[in-house]
């Protein structure tokens, strides 16, 4: 379980990047024989801190967290079902009602269409935000004038709750997808600008001399030094963007034309149809988890080396 590293569009400007970049690592030290990692606490009770345990039951011990998690989920489902004995299912429903509702929504209901629509708008908005945001952040980092000019504006934009611009999006782009995608982009762009900028600044401090020493041109420097160096920071920003973008995805769906998952849950809620509502909510969770997983995979496959850098190590997952 990782701490939520970082700040959404709505905190303190560039300070956000510092927090976003991560919490400090515990002191390393004593690598040669210091093999047991994990909790600073003594092993108490059921779970021990053998992250890399070997020996006879090593494979079991290493996976104990996952196993505990799986058991917890199963147990949770059981408890959930049991609540129907004491509570009216209108509140949180039960698995026995939700699963068929989910099925119904999938097969003959609007779920697949809504899911797809939300997913596509989300990806579109975040992609746009990434392209523009990383671009602006990079430029700010490389061109001092631009940095000084834009820094206060970015800080202000980062602090503003972009949610408030929802009606403005409607006004400018109509009541359809363009507005929703624009909305997501507006929300998701700030963490990317801020973090990319912070990344470039960090590279500027540490690695700038590397480029000049080897006599690289500006473009070469960007390609060989700045881009790779900033990537860990960009990914941190991307994670935050996903999180806040998802909020925009749902909100946009609800307010701009009642479509997608956002629209679906509003309609179901208005009719107090809890079972399909819960099903839709869980689907949203699944969508969000899928997006984060996708990002992680992308980072792990295309840039596996990021995990090994110090900035990457801080963002342990």
């Amino acid at each position: 379980m990782t701490p939520r590293q970082g700040t959404p569009a709505g905190t303190d400007g560039l300070g956000a990047a510092a927090t976003a970049i991560g919490l400090p690592l515990p002191a390393d030290g004593r690598e040669q024989l210091e093999i047991t990692l994990g909790n600073a606490f003594e092993t108490s009770g059921l779970l021990t801190s053998d992250v890399e345990a070997g020996g006879r039951f090593g494979w079991l011990r290493r996976r104990q967290t996952t196993i505990a998690g799986i058991l917890a989920v199963l147990l949770g489902i059981g408890i959930w079902q049991a609540t129907s004995l004491v509570m009216n299912p209108i509140f949180i429903s039960t698995p026995s009602l939700v699963v068929p509702a989910l099925w119904h929504l999938l097969v003959s209901g609007p779920l697949p269409a809504d899911f797809l629509r939300s997913l596509l708008e989300m990806i579109g908005g975040v992609l746009l935000a990434t392209i523009v945001g990383v671009g602006v952040g990079m430029l700010m980092g490389r061109i001092r004038i631009l940095e000084r000019a834009l820094e206060p504006l970015v800080a202000f934009g980062n602090a503003t709750p972009s949610i408030a611009l929802l009606p403005v999006m409607e006004v400018w782009f109509g009541f359809g997808e363009t507005a929703r995608v624009a909305f997501i982009m507006t929300i998701a762009i700030w963490p990317l600008i801020v973090n990319t900028h912070a990344g470039v600044r960090a590279v500027r401090g540490r690695l700038a001399d590397v480029g000049t020493t080897f006599g690289m041109s500006h473009l070469q420097q960007i390609r060989y030094v700045y881009l790779p160096g900033t990537l860990p920071y960009i990914f941190v920003g991307a994670r935050i963007s996903l999180a806040v973008g998802a909020v925009g995805m749902i909100l946009g769906g609800q307010e701009i034309g009642g479509s997608g998952l956002g629209g679906l849950v509003t309609v179901l809620g208005a009719r107090s149809e809890t079972a399909p509502l819960v099903a839709a909510i869980l689907t949203t969770t699944a969508l969000a988890l899928f997006l984060f997983w996708g990002l992680r995979q992308f980072q792990a496959r295309v840039f596996p080396w990021i995990a090994a850098t110090s900035a990457g190590r801080r963002e342990a997952r």
Binding site: A149, P167, G262
Partner: protein, 279 residues
């Protein structure tokens, strides 16, 4: 902690051995650029804005002058101040509950690995989800009204605090713990004198995020669930294309967010100065 080195352009050129001052590159004088550049940027922005007003229907973008007038009026005679009062009350109640719950449960989860392993699938799922998808469910539970909004703020501020607190506890530097053990601290003393203080930076980070998210939650909640408060009026003005008023309220909302986070930072600086200095 790592001070990002300013580039060489920031160093003011000194007179060289030849005796005369070297030719100064334009924009090398950082002091004036720092002030001028943003002003230029804002100026450009306003310029574009004016220009846009010429080409586009003025109902979409009111002119800067009009906006300024409306902006000021909002504060003197508009609903901004009473709306803010209401929003803030809900905000602080929600934050108080959400943050304290987050810290308490975070401490418990951080302490007991079993609990952590058991709760983490749920917490991760909840953390990944955009929480405003839960609002219709909240409405089913408590109906439209202040409870729903406060509940939402509680939820949205709870998770970052929880995660950062638990993470902080688990990330306490082993070195500190060993020092404590070496000096003979028992479990309880270790917790009180070493582990809790060592987790403070993380807890503060979590609270900052929680506060920021809480402000957003306040606005979102009001957009969706009400006919009162800042968020509602933001929505109202937005829908009515009343840009001046809208901007005023957005500015207000931003201010609330920034001020609150600054308050947290202030508390941290005053009582926990070592947190930033010790990195």
């Amino acid at each position: 902690m790592t001070a990002v080195a300013e580039s060489r352009a920031d160093v003011r050129p000194v007179a060289g051995p030849g005796g005369h001052a070297p030719r100064r590159r334009p924009f090398a004088d950082w002091r004036s650029t720092r002030v001028v550049a943003p002003l230029v940027a804002v100026g450009v922005l306003f310029g574009l804005w004016e220009l846009a007003g010429v080409f586009v229907n003025t109902s979409l973008i009111s002119s800067p002058q009009q906006v300024a007038v409306d902006f000021v009026n909002q504060f003197s005679s508009g609903p901004a101040v009473p709306a803010m009062e209401l929003s803030l009350r809900e905000l602080y109640v929600g934050l108080a509950i959400g943050i304290s719950a987050g810290i308490v449960i975070g401490l418990v989860i951080g302490r007991y690995r079993l609990l952590d392993a058991v709760m983490s699938p749920y917490i991760n799922a909840a953390n990944a989800t955009p929480l405003n998808v839960l609002i219709p469910l909240l409405l089913v539970w408590v109906g439209i009204g202040t409870e729903a909004r406060v509940l939402f703020i509680i939820l949205i501020s709870f998770f970052p605090v929880l995660l950062n607190t638990a993470g902080g506890l688990r990330n306490v530097s082993k070195g500190y713990v060993e020092v404590g053990k070496m000096l003979g601290l028992n479990e309880h003393q270790l917790m009180r004198k070493v582990i809790l203080p060592a987790s403070m930076p993380y807890i503060f980070a979590g609270v900052r995020v929680g506060v920021a998210l809480g402000v957003i939650g306040m606005i979102v909640g009001e957009i969706e669930v009400s006919n009162v408060g800042l968020g509602y009026f933001i929505n109202f003005y937005g829908n009515g294309f009343r840009t001046g008023q809208l901007l005023a309220l957005i500015f207000l909302a931003a201010l609330i967010g920034v001020v609150n986070v600054l308050v947290v930072r202030g508390v941290q600086a005053r009582w926990f100065r070592w947190i930033s200095a010790a990195r």
